[in-house]
């Protein structure tokens, strides 16, 4: 029964098992003195790999073990599972959708005071911070406004998007009278127009609109209803079809690229697709016009930030900080910009963007951006789902603007 061969096999099995268990113990220090940092990337492998190779070439004592998960839902779910099972990656991304849960669960390290956080735009630091702590290294931001067909606007006497909402509505009427479809906006997410108008309002408020709502001194009904009433004029005055409730961003983009609509809501993500579909199109971006008591503004947010897992050991956290230091360096930011085409917001590098998007660069680098889901202090996704559905119902004429705001108040209090 207990033959020598069987004893040898058993011994090898036990040794192998012990070895594999040791590998799973979380000790990332290698025998050759290098430290392995696990990294769950939000950015695709094709874009991220050159950056990792460049980092490892400069830092041979740190090895990045990258895995990839596409944003948004799949990434959030993968990260959530790994955090809960105690196998969180050492470096991952904190995004609008998970920042509250990650911070409240104590899953991320406070990065405030770290040298690599110094050159980052304050807006980005605030986005992924709370109570003075900073949890995410966000290198870039995005903005969405209006993309417009210059020829169509010139045909009715305009050389750009007007600065006020009333003038904009007059322009849409002129376009409609001239036989053009004046405006399309996808509302499968929070409408760009509403976000920008709220952004203009909150930038002029102290405390901010959301601080007032979430500390109970104001309500959605009080803050949102006037803006929703103005936004709803697009539909009640017959300037835009209620059919937009069934359109996604790609369909709206295709209509614009094929010159079937004069103005659409859009962000930098449409640039390549539009230019490929219609290289001859003469177009540009512009800000969302301001209400009488507001100013032109844009929807947007800080890009998801790199965070360090609180469950990683001290040595690995130090190695992770080395990685983040390199990402925030001039070389790292430049490579990041070239790989992703994002508008970076660090002091050490000035990005070059496509000329059609130039009008949006300054607001991005100044942090003049607003997205309700980012600004809300809790229940972000719950409120966002509710807001999108209720805005769609408002556009269909089933409910009024005040009902949308009331539904959000009810959701917040539930």
């Amino acid at each position: 029964m207990k033959s020598p061969m069987r004893m040898v096999v058993a011994g090898i099995a036990v040794t192998a098992l012990a070895g594999s268990l040791g590998a799973c113990s979380g000790d990332s220090g290698e025998a050759d003195g290098t430290t392995t940092v696990s990294f769950l990337s939000w950015t695709g492998q094709e874009q991220m790999e050159p950056m990792i190779e460049a980092f490892e070439a400069e830092n041979p004592d740190v090895t990045i073990e990258a895995s990839y998960s596409p944003p948004v839902a799949e990434y959030i779910q993968t990260l959530q599972t790994r955090v809960l099972s105690g196998t969180a990656p050492d470096v991952f991304v904190v995004a609008a959708e998970n920042k509250t849960n990650l911070i409240e669960a104590g899953a991320v390290v406070d990065l405030s005071g770290e040298p690599f956080m110094e050159g980052i735009q304050q807006f980005n630091l605030d986005t992924y911070g709370r109570d003075g702590a900073e949890y995410g290294l966000s290198l870039s931001s995005w903005a969405a406004g209006y993309a417009y067909n210059k020829e169509m606007l010139a045909d009715v006497g305009y050389d750009g998007i007007p600065e006020t909402w009333d003038e904009f509505l007059v322009m849409l009427q002129d376009l409609q009278d001239a036989g053009y479809t004046p405006f399309l906006e996808s509302v499968d997410q929070m409408p760009t127009t509403v976000s920008a108008m709220l952004g203009a309002k909150t930038s002029q408020s102290d405390p901010s609109v959301d601080d007032q709502i979430f500390d109970g001194s104001s309500t959605f009904a009080e803050q949102w209803t006037p803006i929703l009433e103005e936004y709803n004029r697009l539909y009640t005055e017959g300037l835009v079809s209620a059919d937009v409730v069934a359109l996604d961003g790609d369909q709206v983009r295709d209509e614009f690229a094929n010159e079937r609509v004069a103005v659409i809501n859009a962000g930098p993500w449409i640039i390549n697709a539009v230019q490929e579909a219609n290289p001859e199109l003469d177009w540009e971006f512009g800000q969302v016009p301001g209400l009488p008591d507001g100013m032109p503004f844009q929807a947007g947010a800080a890009a998801p930030g790199y965070a360090i897992s609180a469950s990683s050991d001290e040595e690995t956290q130090e190695a992770a900080k080395t990685f983040l230091t390199w990402l925030a360096s001039e070389q790292g930011v430049e490579m990041f910009h070239e790989a992703t085409n994002d508008v970076t917001v660090t002091e050490n590098f000035t990005p070059e963007v496509d000329p059609v998007f130039e009008p949006m660069v300054e607001p991005i680098r100044d942090g003049d951006l607003y997205l309700p889901m980012i600004a809300w202090q809790r229940d972000e996704d719950v409120l966002n789902v509710e807001a999108v559905a209720q805005v769609q119902r408002m556009i269909q004429g089933q409910i009024g603007p005040e009902d949308v705001a009331a539904a959000l108040d009810a959701k917040l209090s539930s």
Binding site: A73, I76, Q77, Q80, V83, L84, E97, N98, N101, L102, E104, A105, G106, A107, D188, S241, A242, D243, V244, V245, A246, L247, D248, Q251, E255, N258, R260, D379, D381, V382, V385, E386, A389, Q390, Q392, R393, I395, Q396, Q398, S414
Partner: protein, 319 residues
Amino acid sequence: MTTLTTPTSSGASAPTARKRRRRSVEGGWKQITINRAFLIPAIVVFVFLFVVPLLQGLYWSFTDFTGYSPEANFIGWDNYVQILNDPSMLSGLTFTLLFAVGTTLLVTCLAIPLAVQLNKAFVGRNVVRSLWFFPAVPSMAILGLVWSYILSPLPSGVLNTLLSNWFGIEAVSWLSDNTLARFSVIMVGVWAQTGWHAVLYLAYLQSIPQEYYEVAKIDGASPRQQFFAITLPLLMPAMVVSSFLLLTNGLKVFDLPYTLTNGGPGFATYTITQSLVVTGVGQGEYGLSSALAVMFTVAVGVIGFTQLRITSRIGRRFA
């Protein structure tokens, strides 16, 4: 079927006969044990992939578990109360039931006549069968994305362009009107599933002996009478299977409405499963999502069991 033993006239010898029969049929306790051992893998899979998650979900449904922290506080029935007071979840329940019942009825009504036609001999029969079966091959998510372009409410939408060019009809709000959006989702679901279920019925049709039809013809039965007196009753077992699959798949539907309408406009085509995913994964409210899952599991169980009982009873009546 022939019996293995002959009836005995004496009552005392009956148990002995039964024992002998069991041993001869099943091979004794050793054979029984070996046979039942083959069930162990299935039982293990059932316990670990169904019973354990179900019990874990039941536990979480009474907590505020977020999915990020292992901490979960007991909060009693709060999650269940919140679900019953949430209009979006009730709307999701309504459309889910509408989709399940609607697709079950329509697919059944269309698949049986289609199967009868596909069972007849004609040139290119196999090609036609393949064409009908094809919509069942791609995933519902892909079909949803494709149909979102076909049913786009814009004048440039594929269907609207055809309607305009051929009949001069103005653009129809296929996906932007609540009623039409619900109708569109159900119709795409019916289109995608009819061929598959027709093939299922076809398999049963081919097992019906031709002699029945020959005798009916001699007796002067019309094709309609043959269908209702022979075909339909003998298809009852297939209808039980088909309608059960349609109903349970309809209750679990997620990918088609999600990609075709994303649950909109508003909550018009929102489904329970979309609510589960959005609440659990998107919003990190695993406790709430688990409570919804528990309620949904019970509802699906009750509906599925009831449907099975009804169709089985009808089947026995026709048998």
